[in-house]
Symmetry: C2
Subunit: 254 residues, 2 copies
Amino acid sequence: MSGRLAVIGIGPGDERWLTPEADAALATAEAVYGYGAYLDRVQARPGQTRHPSDNREEGARAAAALTHAAQGANVAVVSGGDPGVFAMAAAVCAEIEAGPPAWRALDIAIVPGITAMLAVAARVGAPLGHDFCALSLSDNLKPWNLIERRLEAAAGAGFVIAIYNPVSQTRPWQLGVAFDRLERLLPVSTPVVFGRAVGRGDERIEVAALGAAKSIAADMATLVIIGSAETRTVVREGRTPFVYTPRAVARASV
Amino acid sequence: MSGRLAVIGIGPGDERWLTPEADAALATAEAVYGYGAYLDRVQARPGQTRHPSDNREEGARAAAALTHAAQGANVAVVSGGDPGVFAMAAAVCAEIEAGPPAWRALDIAIVPGITAMLAVAARVGAPLGHDFCALSLSDNLKPWNLIERRLEAAAGAGFVIAIYNPVSQTRPWQLGVAFDRLERLLPVSTPVVFGRAVGRGDERIEVAALGAAKSIAADMATLVIIGSAETRTVVREGRTPFVYTPRAVARASV
């Protein structure tokens, strides 16, 4: 019998975002691999082994899970959010491409999940309601000048921008520089949404104007959404304002 | 007692993608509004009224649901996929902004869902594994020259492109022109994924090279993903090939 590997998105923090498909795939797995903090969010099941690893070991984790599956086991790899967005599915594909031919014969399933930008957007209305992009601000795996070029291309063409991995301990300045660059292309009043730890107990959602965005703290658990010139704020007394990008583009901005 | 409105993403076709949060919100609603084809996917519940409407009546549907909620009812509006991505959440926000002050005082919840690009990407590996954008190809609500500018900005800067609404009965030529434009900026071997009716019984997933993409049929139920110059194809004998975009950008393409 050949093995099976499921790469499973468990969504951001709230367990009510775990889909029935993901839950069923986790229930039948004999072994579960993942970053420790994500594994901690997965219910332990009798007879199932757990294989936590560090955050930046995606390649080694994928290879270990594939090796295990190739031995005939039913293996799961968990990702926070969606496994296809800056996460484990690409790492698994890369290991399959570089690995032994037997890995290409495995039964592999990618199980989609709610990715952070959708959950953060939902908290404030519909900032991603029209054309948008998702960009990782980490310059560990691509050069910073390419990131700046992508930010400027996206903002210049009118895309809303969702930023993953805005800040880490070794990357403290990149988000501030990104705001500086975008201020040259967008009104200072452009809404910026900071969604920290969305769906978890310590969730914090903040909305600021681009001109004041640098004063808001962000960290590794934050997802940032920067509006376009079309994005609007709707003040609601006693409630978080709504931020939304209309489906129709106003003639004036074309 | 003031009313409540939940704007609920029910995911693409497969009911195993309906989150527990969405299911719970549907269970408590007294009235459910939505495009008829989406309402048909929602389980009928005793005592709950159903209010189907046509596909292109988003504004009127949002206003009707808000009016109903302002009367004190617990109302749901359903969206296929995620309500925040080219869907009902932006329409609801726009009606609130333009509507009576009482609508701003309503308890409004946006419930995220699996959006089509995540489900289609999962079927073929991880084409959205690195920086990407989501673009509606409909020129009903924005001019075609702006769509071309966005396509060119995104491809030129190295974003993978997920195309929503690629084709409709009144918009037969736009996708072919988009492929023509992108062929000037990307290798003809760039992988293109067509995901039709993902998660439904008549699901069809096809992968083609950009140079041959015009020969693949697309319709209103299709989501198209166009790779970047970094996107790779992994052939697997007897299985759909994997398409993935590596997390690391190769030096040669910078």
